[in-house]
């Protein structure tokens, strides 16, 4: 690897009108690293990862993706270092079948043949354990299945970095584990990933580093064991208390 870091963020600042969503964020993420971001709602977690993959424009600072500057204004970002994204609301294409959802990216933006795209898509559906749902429309699936399709759709582009924006927050409780399992598998295979989540059990299991954000800043970051055992700041302690003792 030419660059040690998959993502380098320096002095990232973003405001929505008067509200400062991100306040001079500095963050480096190594290749293969798994980072979990947590924090109260409105703390800027989602905005941060949306900035990383160019969905959100930012006011100041710099984002390098594998050494190349991220530019949200560019129209399409097919690159050697593709960044995949999984959304809270799945955002599957409802007019297309599951397999078509998966094939669209490889065929249209990577220019793969239909046959190759189909092979790749089928393989990924196996991997997220729903090969039998290939021809169904997204709305015929359960929430957990839809999110797994969304993960497979992102993987179809063979991303080098995966971003997860609260991937289980819109799911019924009984479906959370089937989605987390897929993400854990992916982590085991060495995928670099940034996951915004409140699932602390998952964070403990998967994360190399947990980042706690509040009011647009990174307040605290540590390895999972240190993070849970010994939170440094009062804000983080309060947050962990609220989230762990329910």
């Amino acid at each position: 690897m030419e660059n040690t870091f998959a993502v380098e963020i320096q002095g990232l600042t973003k405001s929505f009108k008067d509200f400062r969503a991100l306040d001079t964020i500095d963050l480096n993420i190594k290749h293969g690293e798994k980072v979990v971001i947590c924090g109260p709602s409105g703390s800027g977690k989602s905005t941060l990862i949306r900035c990383i993959n160019g969905l959100e424009e930012f006011d100041n600072g710099k984002i390098l993706i594998s050494g190349k500057p991220q530019n949200p204004a560019k129209e399409s970002y097919v690159s050697d270092f593709h960044v995949g994204m999984v959304f809270q609301q799945f955002n599957l294409f409802p007019h297309l079948s599951v397999i078509e959802n998966l094939k669209l990216g490889p065929m249209k933006s990577l220019g793969m043949s239909e046959k190759d795209a189909e092979t790749r898509a089928r393989k990924l559906l196996e991997r997220v354990k729903i090969p039998e749902q290939a021809l169904k429309k997204p709305n015929q699936l359960s929430g957990g299945q839809q999110q797994r399709v969304a993960i497979a759709r992102a993987l179809c582009m063979e991303p080098k970095l995966m971003l997860f924006d609260e991937p289980t927050s819109a799911l019924d409780p009984e479906m959370i584990s089937e989605v987390l399992e897929v993400i854990v598998d992916l982590a085991r295979e060495g995928m670099t990933m940034v996951v915004v989540t409140h699932e602390m059990g998952f964070a403990r299991k998967v994360a190399d580093r947990i980042i706690f954000m509040d009011e647009g800043s990174i307040v605290e970051q540590n390895s999972p064991s240190m993070f849970f055992k010994n939170p440094q700041t009062a804000r983080c302690k309060k947050f962990l208390n609220q989230i762990l003792h329910h």
């Binding site: 129209e75 609301q89 599957l92 933006s109 709305n139």
Partner: protein, 256 residues
């Protein structure tokens, strides 16, 4: 369809049992007489122009409407402004003055620019109908496209699709189901508004009806027939649209 047939038969039967003063005079369009049949042929002959006029105008309007609607969704303020000005200005002009302006005025402007273009009634009517209607189709597109959640565009972006591909494969197929019913409404509107072309001498349904009225002096019967002529056209469009809607699944409720 059956009910309509009964309605037609009822009205026609009025002629035989009409009042002693003889206010009805269906003979003008009685197909069993030679004169009546000639009149009917002349009146029905207007279908050709009305249909052709409406179809070309509708296609142009659908096309112009899209060109006008897309800037409304851009982040560029200037493009947005263009959309607003076009829509607000065009839809505030009544069809008839616009028709006169295009038919009598536009050639003058073109001539002053050194272009010697003669706009005949057919193209004058088409240009007017298309432009006038495009302001409405643009709004329909905008509403349809904006009803598709932002997450769809974002998801498309994360799998590397560019603007065109996103529109073509993700947004438009979904928007089209929502756009189609109001667009069909606009087509029906065009068919009916094409009657205005009669005032600049276009030989379509209404013009022909007017001409027969002038010579036969039986407005009631002839305009009744005229109404049914439009009714048939509009019903045909409605059936066609139902079929298309079913094919596209517009009649299913959206699930996102």
């Amino acid at each position: 369809m059956f009910r309509i047939l009964i309605l037609i038969l009822t009205i026609f039967s009025l002629s035989s049992c009409s009042s002693p003063e003889g206010t009805w005079g269906w003979y003008v369009i009685d197909p069993t007489t030679k004169a009546g049949w000639t009149n009917i042929k002349f009146l029905i002959g207007g279908f050709y122009s009305t249909i052709l006029l409406s179809i070309i105008a509708a296609f142009l309007s659908i096309f112009i409407g899209l060109i006008v609607a897309l800037p409304a969704m851009s982040d560029n303020k200037l493009l947005k402004l263009f959309n607003r000005i076009y829509v607000e200005f065009i839809r505030s002009i009544p069809l008839l003055p616009m028709l006169f302006w295009v038919f009598y005025g536009l050639p003058v402007i073109l001539k002053s620019m050194g272009i010697n273009a003669n706009i005949d009634a057919f193209w004058g009517a088409i240009i007017t109908l298309a432009i006038s209607d495009s302001a409405f189709t643009a709004e329909i597109y905008r509403a349809g496209i904006q009803s598709i959640s932002k997450g769809q565009t974002e998801a498309a972006k994360t799998i590397g699709l560019n603007y065109y591909q996103t529109m073509r494969y993700v947004i438009m197929p979904q928007a089209l189901r929502r756009i189609l019913p109001p667009l069909a409404n606009q087509f029906i509107y065009i068919v009916k508004m094409s009657a205005f072309a009669s005032v600049i001498g276009m030989q379509e349904l209404t013009r022909r009806a007017n001409e027969i009225v002038v010579t036969e002096y039986r407005p009631l019967e002839i305009y009744t027939l005229l109404i049914f002529e439009y009714l048939i056209l509009v019903l045909l469009i409605s059936f066609g649209v139902r079929y298309l809607e079913k094919k596209l699944g517009s009649n299913e409720s959206a699930n996102n």
